[in-house]
């Protein structure tokens, strides 16, 4: 440890190695056998359970919990993976408080839901650890499908297609598969290389080839894929980021939160990562929370997360916001950046207070300034490099319920496509469902 949280400017190694290691370890440890049995015993096995309906992938949650109760967690894992092939990562990153756990009848009964997310992790981690892949491929169909993007949607689509007997080639722009699970999630939510381990486990189905460093529009084209393959699935996510459109955005020390999060996730040595003494994160979603919390965990002394609307409008869940507050992040709402101040390097950010007026959000006229050595922009990602042939509506590829785009033979899912929230679990559902439709089309 060469620096401290009080070191001015941007500096690495603000905390000692042991503290950093603890900070980026599992946020919630896995349930042990006893804890899992106690937690599982609380499930009522509801009829037509609300948790199933609330899960974008429709996992039969009461069934898998009953399988844990009955002492067969590997059967529980199969139940989960049948619906959601990225069940282990979803167990960690799903905002369960707004999905399955949010509708658990135990909330009504005693204000405390069954710990579905942690039980799912208990079951799925067990099967991953045993390195058992319970699915097998159908007889080869002779069909080949191209998948663009090895994120949750692309992987889910590829696995289902491979299971159904088709051969799949995934084109991934980045050096590693996993998408946001690998590059876009806070390190403490995916500790111990779980994202990569799950991808490796998933690929054991066979029949899936991943070509990394292969980006649509740069290395491959939609027309080329259409010509070479029997079907194409697009799951390339949202590669662009929104600009602040505030003066001083190009000052040194101002960067996109997604880049910071990706760099942090890939860094083996967290003490090598420089972080500001004063960090300002602009945005109100999960990316903003992940950037703000991890800034604190790296040793930033003061971290402000500033959002232009009120708390209810924030994309991050109450649970995530509480976690951020617990980690020492100061959350400010109803304030928008008007100017980033600095001479070459960022020194401060000037904000204007906002309120909702007749024409939408307006400034109240009052301003304040926050000291900042580093500014992370987390105000949303955008679709980038989508082929011109596709219909695009409000920044998303237009799809029908089964993922078909406006171009015959091309499907899309995940964050780049319409429908649902931009969540890992939604991507998995859309990838899987598109695969079923592709299969139907290829075998019709």
């Amino acid at each position: 440890m060469t620096h401290s949280p009080q070191t001015d400017g941007i500096a690495a190694a603000r905390l000692d190695d042991a503290t950093l290691a603890a900070h980026f370890d599992d946020l919630h440890p896995i349930l042990d056998d006893h804890e899992a049995r106690v937690a599982a015993d609380r499930c009522y096995f509801c009829h037509d359970a609300p948790c199933i309906t609330a899960c974008p992938t429709g996992i039969d949650i009461p069934l898998f919990i009953r399988q844990i109760q009955a002492g067969m967690p590997d059967a529980a894992a199969r139940t989960i993976f049948q619906q959601n092939i990225l069940g282990a990562m979803c167990a960690r990153v799903c905002p369960t408080e707004t999905l399955c756990e949010g509708v658990c009848v135990r909330n009504e009964a005693e204000g405390n839901p069954v710990e579905i997310g942690r039980l799912q992790r208990y079951a799925t981690d067990g099967l991953l650890e045993a390195n058992e892949h319970p699915f097998t491929r159908a007889a080869p169909s002779g069909k080949r499908v191209a998948v663009v993007g090895a994120g949750p949607a692309g992987l889910a689509c590829a696995h289902r297609l491979a299971m159904l007997g088709h051969d799949v080639v995934i084109h991934e722009a980045r050096p590693k598969p996993g998408g946001l699970n690998e590059y876009g999630i806070a390190a403490y939510k995916a500790a111990n290389g779980i994202a990569q381990a799950e991808v490796d486990w998933l690929l054991r189905i066979g029949g899936i080839t991943i070509e990394t460093g292969s980006a649509l529009g740069r290395d491959i084209t939609l027309d080329g894929l259409k010509a070479e393959y029997d079907a194409v699935f697009l799951g390339m996510g949202l590669a662009g980021v929104n600009a602040l459109r505030a003066e001083g955005e190009d000052l040194e020390g101002v960067r996109d939160a997604v880049d910071f999060i990706a760099e942090l996730r890939q860094a083996k040595d967290k003490s090598a990562l420089p972080i500001g003494r004063h960090v300002v994160v602009i945005g109100g979603g999960m990316t903003a929370v992940d950037a703000a919390v991890q800034s604190r965990l790296l040793g930033a002394e003061h971290v402000h997360m500033v959002y232009r609307r009120d708390r209810d409008a924030m994309g991050a869940s109450e649970y995530e916001l509480d976690h951020a507050a617990t980690e020492g992040v100061t959350i400010l709402t109803n304030a928008m950046p008007v100017k980033i101040i600095g001479n070459g390097k960022v020194e401060a950010v000037e904000f204007a207070y906002t309120r909702s007026g007749p024409k939408g959000l307006e400034q109240t006229g009052e301003t304040f300034t926050l000291r900042a050595d580093q500014v992370f922009k987390a105000i949303g990602q955008t679709l980038e490099g989508a082929p011109d042939a596709l219909d695009i509506d409000r920044g998303k590829i237009v799809t029908d319920a089964t993922g078909r785009t406006s171009v015959a033979g091309v499907w899309a899912g995940g964050d780049c496509a319409q429908g649902g929230e931009d969540l890992t679990v939604t991507g998995v559902a859309q990838g899987r469902d598109a695969a079923m439709d592709i299969h139907a089309a290829l075998t019709a």
Binding site: R37, V38, D41, R42, Y44, F45, C46, H47, D48, A49, P50, V105, R106, E108, A109
Partner: protein, 434 residues
Amino acid sequence: MADLTSNFVGIKSPNPFWLASAPPTDKEYNVRRAFEAGWGGVVWKTLGEEGPPVVNVNGPRYGAIWGADRRLLGLNNIELITDRPLEVNLREMKMVKRDYPDRALIASIMVPCVEEAWKAILPLVEETGADGIELNCGCPHGMSERGMGAAVGQNPDLIEQITRWCKQYTRMPVIVKLTPNITDVRKPAQAAKRGGADAVSLINTINSITSVDLDDFAPAPTIDGKGTHGGYCGPAVKPIALNMVAEIARDPETADLPISGIGGVSTWRDAAEFLTLGAGNVQVCTAAMTYGFGIIKEMTAGLSLWMDKKGFTSVDQITGRAVPNVTDWQYLNLNYVTKAVIDQDKCISCGRCYAACEDTSHQAILMKEGRVFEVDDSECVACNLCVNVCPVEDCITMKRVAPGALDERTGQTVPAEKGDWTTHPNNPMARAAE
């Protein structure tokens, strides 16, 4: 405050809670701890005849079943009677009785079915100052293979015989402990009475295998790859015990025979239930083995407070209070019509009532928009299954359809007068009587 003191066939104790003859009462150390904790009496673990004591297995003696959160619901055991020398037990009993003269000390005894054996042991027991004896005619494992325990309890003639011997050779009150491993518990109770028993106690444990080890394919508890049936007890057996107690209490032949109620008593409420069905006191084992002797404080405090609230001042006012209401099915009022009512404020929308009714009963619960569950009175037969599967207490209750009102299921007006099977038109016997 209610007076909990108990006088059971002349045996006095400060409360009606005795520890049953079992591992908790096998030796002085445990019994002293029990008395210090507040137990009213103990039935000392069963004594055998003089000579080399029995031996126990050296592998596991207990098997169990559990409910949610691993709550122990049922326990079984393959332990035999005391495996300590008779003289040691007698010496300890004497010392304990000397130090706790206000507590009840009863000796459980099991010796071979020969007069000499009983004649020999009874004076030795009497010499300890014990307040009474309990004849172990119930132990279902091990000893029964040697013609004792349940082997006696399954033969009314033998029960009568050994009871008679005991009454002949001791002045101590004689309690006959009955096995539930029979078809009609009234027969052994009647035999005990014919033999002159002062009381019966029941139930002893039930023949059982709690589980099977699916790796070794052997019943549990497993001893070197083999298992045997053991005696089942604990909360799971309480309903069986309550019925057997009630059967004896309402049998004209044994209605005046005092009963010590045993079988899954875990709380004051269980005890109160046994008392109302005819028990003069209760004996407890599994609950103490699960939680330790400290539970006696919950039991005495709870029973006392309940009695206060009900206006009862002594235990004998409770005994048998529910017996007149135990009847045969044929006398149940078929004109008493109820319907399930779901309290929407308490409902948590789990839908278990719906699943139970829709899949396994009468399709009388409707699932409406927004997971609202309502009873369809035109289908509800009042079976009570929804009440029993609902996880929220008092969320679903049975409400009576008032006489004169329409029963939507039958389309008939509910009659005001009682009507049972004996007079029902569908009963061929009723028609024959006309």
